[in-house]
């Protein structure tokens, strides 16, 4: 089996909205795959389906050869995930969050403590391991979430905008670690980001999704050539257009826009 993830004709509809509309692609084992798209394109919805949090309207997902829909508990052992939004218990300490995770993922007792302290070292949070997470800054919480995703040594790691809201130092160090995990441990990386230069720098393969459909896919060089562009950012804009995605906005976005108009 040479693919970590195989997606076939996958769709997710919310009422009339086709948030994900019949997408198919493969993520080769050991690659870094960047899933790019404008706001509301369907990236997070796709990741939720890959990780068994949401049931697809139709389609099939194979994760490390395991059918996610038919065999979710087994599929859940294969991946680690850093969600786009907050998913840590603020009332527990950093260490307690990781311990909770290690037990849920049945990390054997004799290596549990080593795994936890290795993960904390990696994101440089060792010295704060006994602080309550509610005393952490946004960047520290993010780093802790990344550490948590690594505790059970997954075969594939999903990162939904892991560097949003972080300073350049932290962003660089996170990408450095992710590259290292990929090169040294052969971990497959599936990521989304809105920072095109970062994707350009790190990704082996890029897929661009817009309005729930994949519009382009290939290596960065291939895509840039196809779009006759110099940078991934230009390529991205060529494939997705320059209009801001407001027409798809949620009710909240609509309200915000109306308030802006009134003032």
């Amino acid at each position: 089996m040479e693919n970590s993830l195989e997606v076939k004709n996958l769709s997710k509809h919310f009422g009339k909205l086709k948030a994900v509309n019949n997408i198919s692609f493969n993520v080769p084992k050991g690659s870094i795959f960047a899933f790019l798209g404008p706001n509301g394109a369907g990236k997070s919805t796709s990741i939720k389906m890959f990780t068994s949090l949401t049931k697809p309207t139709k389609g099939e997902i194979l994760l490390e050869g395991i059918n996610v829909l038919k065999n979710p508990d087994n599929a859940r052992k294969q991946f680690g995930i850093v969600f786009q939004d907050h998913s840590i218990d603020d009332e527990l300490t950093a260490y307690e969050n990781l311990k909770f995770h290690a037990v849920l993922y049945q990390v054997p007792k004799d290596i549990r403590e080593t795994r936890i302290s290795d993960a904390l070292k990696l994101v440089e949070l060792e010295d704060r391991k006994n602080s309550l997470v509610k005393t952490f800054s946004g960047g520290m919480k993010r780093r802790l979430e990344i550490a948590r995703g690594l505790v059970h040594n997954p075969k594939i790691l999903f990162l939904d905008e892991p560097t949003t809201g972080l300073d350049p130092q932290t962003r660089n160090s996170i990408w450095k670690h992710i590259k290292m995990l990929n090169k040294e441990h052969g971990m497959t990386i599936f990521l989304t980001t809105h920072y095109m230069p970062e994707a350009e720098e790190i990704a082996d393969i890029v897929a661009i999704i817009d309005h729930g459909k994949i519009t382009a896919q290939g290596t960065v060089t291939e895509l840039n050539k196809k779009a006759k562009a110099k940078t991934l950012e230009e390529t991205f804009l060529k494939f997705t257009g320059k209009s801001i995605r407001e027409e798809q906005g949620s009710g909240l976005d609509m309200m915000r826009r109306m308030r802006r108009l009134r003032h």
Partner: protein, 249 residues
């Protein structure tokens, strides 16, 4: 697998322990009931030849505090959904029934601690347990009430996404369950409508069990009390884990 149940339970207790204000706050209501009703109705009750009202009321107030804490445990599920932690639980390779059991046991333990503290408070008002064996039997019934209503609260919460709706629904359910249960008045010689309602109210059996165990007087008999509470707890736990496994994020 039991490791998962254990950490879910432990997390709940840690969170409870770290917010002691919650505990202190939830003692206000039982204290008020003991003070106002216990002392207020005492004279009428004994004048009617029914004996010591506080002896009758205390098990009802203990059951009440367990009922409230248990049902409101469900709000933890809604918080976890709101603050994102539920995602972490739901992507883990743990069967949904074990997640449900862990959460229920955690919440039920918190409710039981609450109930034991209220039991100790009733001693200050002059309540006495009739035997050591009765004390432990009483604890057993308190555990059953806690498990039964915690799983009910979590089952309901797993179908809700709305932080503000949950307390409204809970109060809507808790109030009739409490007032129509025999926690406050004897179940003998009731008008037939009320008598039927109290018979189908599960808390009636819980209260009667606690009262029978602690004071030695029961209405339904301890055997029936135990049967109703334990069977119902199992059924709701099972339904709850079915509902819980349907959660999508």
């Amino acid at each position: 697998m039991s490791g998962a149940i254990y950490v879910m339970w432990l997390r709940q207790l840690k969170r409870f322990w770290r917010s002691k204000a919650r505990m202190a706050g939830s003692l206000g209501q039982p204290l008020l009931f003991l003070f106002a009703l216990g002392l207020g109705f005492g004279p009428v009750y004994s004048a009617a030849g029914q004996g010591n009202y506080l002896l009758f009321l205390a098990p009802g107030v203990i059951a009440m505090s367990i009922l409230f804490t248990s049902m409101f445990n469900g709000i933890e599920v809604i918080w976890d959904r709101q603050f994102g932690f539920l995602k972490e639980t739901l992507v883990a390779p743990v069967s949904r029934i074990n997640i449900m059991i862990g959460k229920t046991l955690g919440g039920a333990t918190v409710a039981l601690i609450q109930g034991v503290v209220v039991l100790l408070l009733t001693f200050l008002f002059g309540f006495r347990v009739h035997s050591i064996g009765g004390f432990f039997l009483g604890l057993l019934f308190m555990i059953l009430i806690a498990v039964l209503f915690t799983s009910l609260g979590i089952a309901i919460a797993s179908r809700m996404t709305d932080m503000h709706g949950f307390p409204i629904i809970m109060n809507f359910l808790i109030m009739p369950i409490f007032f129509l249960s025999g926690a406050l008045f004897p179940l003998e010689n009731l008008p037939s409508v009320l008598s039927i309602i109290t018979k189908i109210n599960p808390l009636s059996y819980g209260v009667d069990g606690v009262r029978g165990a602690l004071t030695g007087t029961t209405h339904f008999g301890l055997g029936l009390d135990f049967l109703v509470c334990s069977v119902l707890a199992m059924i709701i736990l099972f339904i709850g884990s079915k509902l819980f496994s349907k959660i999508e994020l």
